[in-house]
Amino acid sequence: MSRPKVAIYWAASCGGCDTKILDTDEKLLDIAAAVDIVFWPIAMDFKYADLEKFADREIDLTIINGAVRNSEQEHIVKLLRRKSKVVAALGACAVSGGIPGLANQFTADEMLDYIYRKTLTTEPNSQPPKTETETEDGVLTLPKFYNTVFSLPQVIDVEYFIPGCPPPPSLIAKALELFVAGELPPPPAFVVGDKSVCDECPRERTGKFEVKQWKRLATHQPEQSNKCLLEQGFLCLGPATPSGCGALCPKANMPCEGCMGKSQDVVDRGAKFISTIASLYPAKTEEEIKKMLDEIPDLVGTLYRFDLPSSVLRGKVKKS
């Protein structure tokens, strides 16, 4: 009996998700023995031309990490969707846009203009790359850089979601073990815990609390205590984030960044967290409200750090 075929692709990715697949340690050996990996650029030498040769739905599981923000990435994820029975989105970028999704606050032209003409270390006369470049011997091509960063489900149908930045190896191992055993739940399904990060966090809250000042890590250090970081006044996204990571960051004295995405019963996480911020901060006068707003300098970047592309507002409206 042939082993199931598994493809792993990275789109607009940092390589962290692939590293976490490797961090499943010895479990990876069992998984690798049970499947046939047919594409995995970080570790194996298969080419895009090899993918073209598969029949439709011949690949049993394709795992895609990284967001989609250029034409090559869109082409390959659509190709993989055709050639695969099941697609899983791995990591915050594929699930909801991830950190590269913050680029939705800018247009492609704004980004290319700054990056290729105006950074401190850009050479003079540098120009943004073109999609086609003629050389003496032939035309070289590059993908088109899109205006928008797309999460994977915004481009293709996705059956399974393993969020996190990076996703905890324990969740990756669990998903792969379920796949190998043929016991994946009916799609769509998120491989996360069913509580919030707060439930996994060992820190303690003193019942009902108020935050009189939102503290920035640039100017304040968390106390050397077991006190809840939100109660201390740091913008910890624990209450708005599903469990599954073991609350690694709060255990290391850092407020939760919210990398596991939003819980499925919330439509827009930033909008929901605004309610949390507002309900904890006892500002009544216009002056006090202004103070509160000044204490959170980058509201979009803080509340939508990992999921701007999949939020309701999705990005910054272009000035006409």
Binding site: Q105, Q154, L313, V317
Partner: protein
């Protein structure tokens, strides 16, 4: 309530939506004239801002 609205307004502004498009007014059922004035004023304001432009994903 004002705290939530002011945070939402700041977020809208950061994402390129004019904060004036969000207005919160307390009007009771017995304040007909006040309601009419507020709506009239808001409609004028919106007309001067033009149609709402939401983010449009594009390639």
């Amino acid at each position: 309530m004002w705290r939530r609205m002011s945070l939402l307004r700041k977020m809208m502004e950061q994402l390129g939506i004019e904060p004036e498009r969000l207005r919160v007014v307390w009007v009771s059922a017995s304040e007909g004239e006040k309601f009419a004035n507020e709506v009239r004023d808001f409609v004028e304001k919106l007309k001067s801002l033009g149609p709402l432009k939401m983010y449009e994903p594009s390639r």
